[in-house]
């Protein structure tokens, strides 16, 4: 007798995360950061690209990993006009941490995930500021850390939205081992 798998397998998901979906959502997130945001609220705008990237690294870790993080980071560097490799480094580090914790993060429901993810999102903004300070670029504008907090606050709406895209049952409703 063949036992049914305890966790829903790829084929059982109505809309499993495919390459097309992942890359399209990453592109949309990147476009969102490219929007002509008003200068007064520019420092509040979270890094949507990183959020979507981390989401997919939790849900589908084999599609967009370090290579995607690196290329998206370079694109962000150019779009933001900062030093080459700054955001690429930050994205790679964030992705690496998430991939290390992937098994744990996958099982959490969204609020707990937010608690685990927020240090990474805020830490990324800190890293970008710290690297700028290290390179002697003058006083940091610490307001930009708020972008990380906003990103952490927006994590659950984003997770909800992308869960709908893959028709994934919320993690709490999944059968647990």
């Amino acid at each position: 007798m063949i036992l049914p798998p305890l966790l829903p397998q790829g084929a059982e998901l109505a809309h499993p995360p495919t390459r097309a979906k992942v890359y399209l959502s990453l592109l949309l997130a990147f476009v969102l950061t490219l929007l002509p945001w008003m200068e007064q609220i520019r420092w509040l705008v979270p890094d949507f690209t990183l959020m979507v990237l981390l989401y997919w690294n939790i849900r589908a870790p084999r599609i967009a990993a370090l290579g995607a993080a690196f290329s998206l980071g370079l694109l962000t560097d150019v779009a933001r006009g900062v030093l080459f490799g700054l955001n690429a480094l930050a994205y790679c580090i964030a992705t690496f941490i998430v991939l290390l914790l992937q098994r744990r993060l996958e099982g959490f429901d969204t609020p707990r995930q937010t608690l685990q993810i927020s240090p990474i999102l805020i830490g990324k903004e800190m890293l970008v500021l710290a690297l700028g300070l290290m390179m002697g670029r003058g006083d940091a504008d610490w307001r930009w850390l708020v972008a990380g907090v906003v990103a952490a606050l927006l994590w659950s709406p984003l997770a909800w939205l992308l869960d709908r895209v893959t028709s994934q049952a919320p993690a709490s409703q999944q059968p647990t081992l």
């Binding site: 495919t18 490219l34 084999r62 980071g73 933001r80 006009g81 690429a88 991939l99 700028g132 006083d139």
Partner: protein
């Protein structure tokens, strides 16, 4: 389901830590390369050429909405603005006549003293399309780039004075470092007594500073600072800043002066790039052989 990749049974690739350290090393290499050398400018311009059309397409609906909003302006407002602009134009015309006469006199005097003619400049108007999102820099992106012949290093002005300098050129856009950027310095001259100092940005749009001022330098609040033109980048005589206050030395051997920028640094959407006119050494050519003959 074939499109959804699964974990392979037998792993035939580098482990995660190894890949990660490889990427980190590449990033650090790129960072060092970009911070110290300008070898990556071409790559940056290439990637920007990919991103820029998308950015323009995103900004287009917003611009269009602003255009629609502008369409519903009352007739009275337009008439008032028209009258004001006409008055301003008359004043400018009068000032221009004066300026032309003075410029002609100046070039005659320079020719008389056998000085090379001042480099001429023409203006290329541009519009800010984006404020840079670098927390350490005060930069904007304008909608003129290499396609319009812009070259990094050219000064940028608005109606009231110097605004900044073109620092990076992309195919259809260019990055302008504003005067208030910390890495930006402009050699200026005090209009009252000709004292030469360097005005630098300090990251805020309201104030510029003269960092290393001689303790006894004659710089007073209210003094106007104009570009001196000795750096060969900025043309001479562009208004830059007004001195607000000077601070005596504290813990350092140097005094410091705070200035207010005269140009609308970070305020207006329109600015103009000063395009240096090709050096027309017409008045010099007949002089050179004459001078040589005199020497002989």
């Amino acid at each position: 389901m074939s499109s959804a990749p699964r974990a392979p049974l037998f792993v035939r690739e580098m482990g995660l830590p190894a890949r990660f350290s490889l990427y980190v090393m590449v990033c650090l290499f790129l960072l060092a390369l970009d911070a110290r050398y300008s070898t990556l400018a071409g790559m940056r311009a290439g990637i920007n050429a990919l991103i820029h059309p998308g950015q323009m397409a995103l900004a287009w609906p917003l611009d269009w909405m602003q255009g629609v909003a502008r369409f519903f302006v009352s007739h009275g407002e337009l008439a008032a603005e028209n009258a004001r602009l006409k008055r301003q134009q008359e004043l400018l015309d009068a000032g221009m006549l004066d300026r032309v006469a003075i410029a002609a006199e100046n070039s005659q005097l320079r020719a008389l003293m056998a000085l090379p003619p001042r480099p001429g400049f023409s203006m290329l108007p541009g519009e800010i399309i984006e404020a840079s999102t670098d927390p350490f820099a005060r930069k904007v992106i304008i909608n003129r780039g290499a396609g319009q012949g812009i070259v990094a290093g050219w000064p940028v002005v608005d109606a009231h004075g110097l605004v900044g300098q073109v620092t990076r050129v992309y195919p259809w856009s260019a990055e302008v470092s504003l005067l208030s950027d910390r890495s930006q310095g402009v050699p200026v001259q005090n209009m009252r007594n000709g004292l030469r100092v360097i005005v630098s940005g300090q990251g805020s749009d309201n104030f510029l500073e003269v960092r290393f001022l001689d303790m006894h330098a004659d710089l007073q609040p209210g003094d106007l600072l104009y570009t001196s033109g000795i750096d060969g980048v900025y043309p001479a005589g562009v208004p830059v800043a007004r001195v607000v206050k000077t601070e005596p030395p504290q813990h350092t051997p140097f005094a410091r002066a705070l200035c207010q920028p005269l140009g609308g640094v970070g305020r207006y959407r329109h600015m103009a790039v000063l395009v240096p006119a090709p050096q027309t050494a017409v008045p010099e050519k007949p002089q050179d052989p004459a001078q040589k003959k005199k020497v002989k």
